[in-house]
């Protein structure tokens, strides 16, 4: 099974070569488009490269710990995360009307990113302890575990991240094999929850975004402007695209946040439908590999954690592309691996590290326990 020097090095580093391969391809794609999306901004592209290198390092580090370690430390991480989130909500650094940052002096730190890992870890550990499939009581308790950080993040307010955090927990419940009846009941519950959320929990700007989604033309120069410009960019890309650095919507800055949340519009404009398909295929390969890893996991904890993290990754992709192409509301979710942004990339790479750990440590489980 183990053959060749390189493979053995990767194996010793607890790296899954195929998974790494797809990650590197996507990161390469990301740097390539970043040069264009930043408007040929060299410092910004260099920082992106720096983020990539840091991310790879973090991934390798996280791959070294065994799944057992994660299972053991999950509750502490979860509690630490809750504490930090509360601190943020009370003392956080306000940026653009949202308290998302904790200024530690030397670094501005976004605790909601930690929740993206802490919640699935905690949920996986909790469900695993209770046994699969989880009984109803466990399921309800798990939902409570998910709800606390989700609401804390939603209060910042950061609806996009809150949804993702909730998703990351719910996927784990789902993968733990709960009954279809329960899923159906949840859908009804969520359906009932939507009006409550609409009237009591959402901020005006969020409601505005949702309304704008359904009819961007209702405010073409205000809230709908971004989405119309983004759709225009994607649509005008056509089959083959306008070419690298030649996207007029992008280069002339008609696309909002073109290097962060709306980077997919740049890809679709400059590389066209073909370029977008290539990107989707790369993501699909990555996700397939993640799901295969999950299916091969030796423990329920490993299986549901790897599966959950992989599916959350996919949800990121789906929400981001859906949002920039106008089928989902604009909720501020970056395109994983591609968008500019250090914290989210590092956290994502950490979760890849955990997935790799689950795969590469599967044969050592008996020894280590």
């Amino acid at each position: 099974m183990v053959s060749g020097k390189k493979d053995s090095l990767l194996m010793r580093l607890h790296i899954d070569p195929l998974f790494l391969f797809f990650i590197l391809l996507l990161l390469g794609y990301s740097v390539y488009i970043m040069w264009s999306a930043s408007g040929q901004n060299l410092p910004m592209t260099e920082r992106k490269v720096g983020q990539v290198i840091l991310g790879i390092f973090v991934m390798i580090v996280f791959a070294q710990f065994s799944p057992r370690f994660y299972e053991k430390w999950a509750p502490y991480l979860y509690i630490a995360c809750i504490i930090v989130l509360v601190i943020v909500d009370v003392f956080g650094y306000t940026s653009k009307g949202a308290q998302r940052w904790l200024n530690l002096g030397f670094i501005r730190f976004q605790p909601s990113e930690i929740a993206k890992i802490a919640v699935p870890l905690m949920v996986a550990k909790f469900i695993n302890r209770e046994g699969c499939p989880p009984p109803l009581k466990t399921t309800v308790q798990t939902l409570a575990i998910i709800a606390v950080p989700t609401l804390l993040v939603a209060m910042q307010p950061d609806l996009g991240t809150a949804i993702l955090i909730a998703m990351s927990g719910i996927f784990i419940i789902f993968l733990a094999g709960i009954s279809w009846k329960f899923i159906a009941a949840s859908v009804v519950a969520i359906g009932a929850f939507i009006p409550v959320m609409w009237f009591f929990l959402m901020h005006d700007y969020q409601r505005e975004r949702v309304l704008t989604l359904f009819n961007p033309e209702r405010d073409p120069l205000g809230k709908g402007y971004h989405i119309l410009q983004s759709k225009t960019a994607i649509g005008s890309g056509g089959l083959w695209g306008k070419g690298w650095l030649a996207g007029t919507q992008s280069q002339l800055e008609f696309i909002p946040e073109r290097h962060t949340d709306f980077i997919f519009s740049v890809i679709a404009e400059e590389f066209g439908f073909i370029g977008a398909i290539i990107l989707l295929i790369l993501f699909l390969c990555l996700i397939s590999r993640g799901l295969i890893i999950a299916s091969q996991a030796q423990t329920t904890f490993g299986r549901i954690l790897a599966g959950g993290l992989t599916l959350v990754l996919f949800i990121y992709v789906f929400i981001n592309i859906g949002m920039v192409s106008g089928i989902l509301p604009v909720v501020g979710v970056p395109l994983p691996l591609i968008s500019y942004g250090g914290s989210s990339l590092v956290v994502l790479m950490a979760s890849f590290g955990i997935i790799m750990s689950i795969h590469t440590h599967r044969n050592m489980l008996s020894k280590n326990i």
Binding site: F174, Q229, K231, I234, G235, S236, L280, L291, F318
Partner: protein, 621 residues
């Protein structure tokens, strides 16, 4: 496996969405994307320059500098405006206009703040430019009339395009040629030759970013400047006549009888057309409107005056042609003429009469009685029809908008019925014989009729356009044969026997040089031969036996002085018509002005020492 299936399903959703956007709706979004980034900026053409016949520019384009500001880029607009006040002379009115104007401008486009910056203001601003990143100075073409009031009634002026102009341009499908153009010809030559002078706008296709900043030029299509035109006007003659008239209420038209070229067209007093170019203030405009001398009124083309005795030569050739009189016809003048079958007396200007009068003497001494008889014998129908042939009662067809030219009135039965709802009576015909009664004519009509006389019946349409720049030859001259001499259909050379022209002209010659000619005193010793005819138009009707004494009546009721002339007699080079409002005797005052003009034009004599207007008895006409 279920998870993977769900993932695939969702990927398909994304693919369908993308395919819908990028393949099915590609055309729509591609257009939208181009509309986003491409902006067409019109470049207005330079207006054609207007020259006189000798190439002196009469209407030119100056560059004026405008301060423009991009208001929606400036967060502290108030503050910036206040700071600008220190650099340029910004009034509250300027700011008010700017605030009103900016609403009609596209976002991120510069809005004019202040026109007509002085050099000092420009310098001050340029030094401080760094403090105002969204304020800039741009040059604009501005029409300028260097000779101010001298040619206003010929050139007219350009002024801001208003909604009425826009509606007309829209109708004529020319509105798109005016994007970016501020002014349009309102009256005069500027209006008549608007299409020639305006040119074709160009455009610049630029790529803009989302802030409206121009990123690069995609396409440059230069504008095509309007055509430069050369008028028939002789600026020196025009200026000389203006100087001669010295602000008096008067009109003078001079035409080259060989081709109908208008050499001078003076309406006095006049006004400065430059006032109208940038938009005149209502105060200044009201001052012009309320001026009792009516400087805005184009007397040469819109002023209708009784042509008085100046029409006698034309009536003479008509009556000869009709056989109403012969060269030998003698009318005995006892000082009045009695309308047959009535007690109604028509007085001659000479109370004791001219005695036996033939056609030549009738002109030399301007015998009214002779023409009462002729008018009576011809009847209004024939008289009216003949006078129409000389252009009376009709527009001359000069190349200026018909709105700016009066037809005058050549009375007829139909005209009177329409105007007064009353039938024509024989008594109406008699004063028509001496150019009075209902008859009115414009100075331009008089000048046109005079050219016809000078030409022995050849009719040219008076015109102002001599050449277009595009017709210029390589050596800077124009082809000798000018296409712009327009002859009209009514050629009177065939209709009227050459001998009759000779008789009428002999009479007109004798006006100047005959032993009893009405203008003989003025023309005595003239080195060239000339022909002329004076006229004194009554503004105020005398009672039956009242004696006219100009000193006894207020100026505005005094007679108009008229004079027509052409010279040299044998080969005329200039035909003239002069009307001096309330100028007293036509022969003395009008004749003197005519003499100066002819001397100037034919001899280059610039002495403008016009004798004081003679205000005396109603004499010598």
């Amino acid at each position: 496996m279920i998870a993977f299936a769900v993932v695939l399903m969702m990927v398909v959703v994304l693919l369908v969405t993308l395919a819908h956007l990028q393949i099915l709706s590609f055309g729509y979004y591609n257009t939208k994307s181009n509309n986003n980034r491409i902006e067409i900026i019109p470049i207005p053409p330079n207006r054609g320059v207007i020259y006189d016949r000798n190439g002196t520019p009469l209407a030119i384009n100056n560059t004026i500098y405008q301060l423009k500001i991009i208001p929606d880029k400036i967060s502290n607009l108030e503050e910036q405006l206040n700071e600008l006040r220190g650099l340029v002379d910004l009034t509250d009115e300027d700011i008010e206009i700017f605030q009103k104007e900016r609403r009609s401008y596209k976002a991120h486009r510069p809005v004019p703040l202040k026109d007509n910056l002085t050099e000092k203001e420009i310098a001050k601003f340029v030094v401080n430019q760094h403090r105002f990143p969204f304020v800039n100075i741009s040059g604009n073409q501005h029409r300028y009339y260097p000779y101010s009031s001298a040619l206003t009634h010929v050139l007219g002026y350009v002024s801001k395009i208003n909604n009425q102009d826009k509606a007309r341009l829209e109708e004529e499908n020319k509105l798109s040629d005016y994007v970016g153009t501020l002014n349009i010809g309102k009256i005069g030559v500027e209006r008549f030759y608007e299409d020639l002078l305006h040119g074709t706008p160009g455009y610049e296709e630029v790529e803009v970013n989302n802030r409206g900043t121009i990123v690069r030029q995609l396409n440059h299509n230069p504008p095509q400047a309007g055509e430069d035109i050369y008028l028939t006007i002789d600026l020196n003659l025009q200026l000389y006549i203006q100087k001669l008239l010295d602000g008096r209420k008067a009109a003078v038209v001079a035409i080259d009888p060989n081709n109908g070229e208008v050499l001078a067209l003076v309406s006095s007093p006049s006004y400065d057309p430059n006032l109208f170019v940038g938009g005149i203030s209502s105060k200044k405009y009201n001052a012009l409107l309320e001026d009792k001398d009516k400087p805005l009124f184009n007397r040469a083309m819109l002023g209708s005056y009784p042509p008085a005795s100046t029409v006698k030569p034309f009536i003479a050739v008509s009556a000869l042609s009709e056989g109403v009189i012969t060269p030998k016809t003698i009318v005995t003048d006892p000082g009045y003429w009695l309308l047959p079958g009535t007690e109604k007396r028509f007085r001659d200007w000479l109370r004791w009469g001219h005695g036996k009068v033939d056609v030549v003497k009738s002109l030399e001494e301007s015998v009214d009685t002779y023409y009462y008889q002729v008018a009576y014998d011809m009847g209004i129908d024939r008289l009216s029809a003949w006078m129409n042939k000389f252009g009376y009662g009709e527009r001359t067809g000069i190349d200026i908008s018909p709105n700016e030219e009066s037809r005058g009135i050549m009375p007829s039965r139909a005209w009177k019925m329409q105007r007064y709802k009353q039938p024509w009576v024989p008594g109406d015909t008699i004063p028509v014989g001496i150019g009075q009664g209902y008859w009115t004519a414009t100075p331009l009509q008089l000048a046109k009729a005079t050219t016809i006389m000078a030409n022995n019946g050849k009719v040219y349409t008076p015109h102002l356009l001599k050449n277009k720049r595009s017709e210029m030859l390589e050596d800077g001259t124009f082809p000798a044969l000018t296409k712009n001499a327009v002859t009209t259909n009514s050629d009177l050379t065939v209709l009227i026997n050459q001998a009759y022209w000779a008789l009428a002209k002999e009479g007109m010659y004798k006006v100047m040089f005959g032993s009893r000619g009405t203008a003989r005193k003025i023309y005595a010793g003239s080195p060239y031969k000339a022909a002329g005819k004076s006229g004194t138009a009554q503004v105020y009707g005398l009672k039956a036996d009242e004696i006219y004494n100009a000193n006894d009546i207020p100026e505005h009721l005094r007679d108009h002085a008229l004079f027509i002339a052409f010279a040299p007699y044998d080969k005329p080079k200039i035909a003239l018509a002069i009307v001096l409002e309330h100028g007293g005797g036509g022969s003395s005052n009008g004749g003197a002005i005519a003499k100066h003009i002819l001397d100037y034009y034919l001899l280059g004599d610039e002495s403008t020492q016009v004798p004081e207007p003679i205000v005396n008895t109603r004499h010598e006409d």
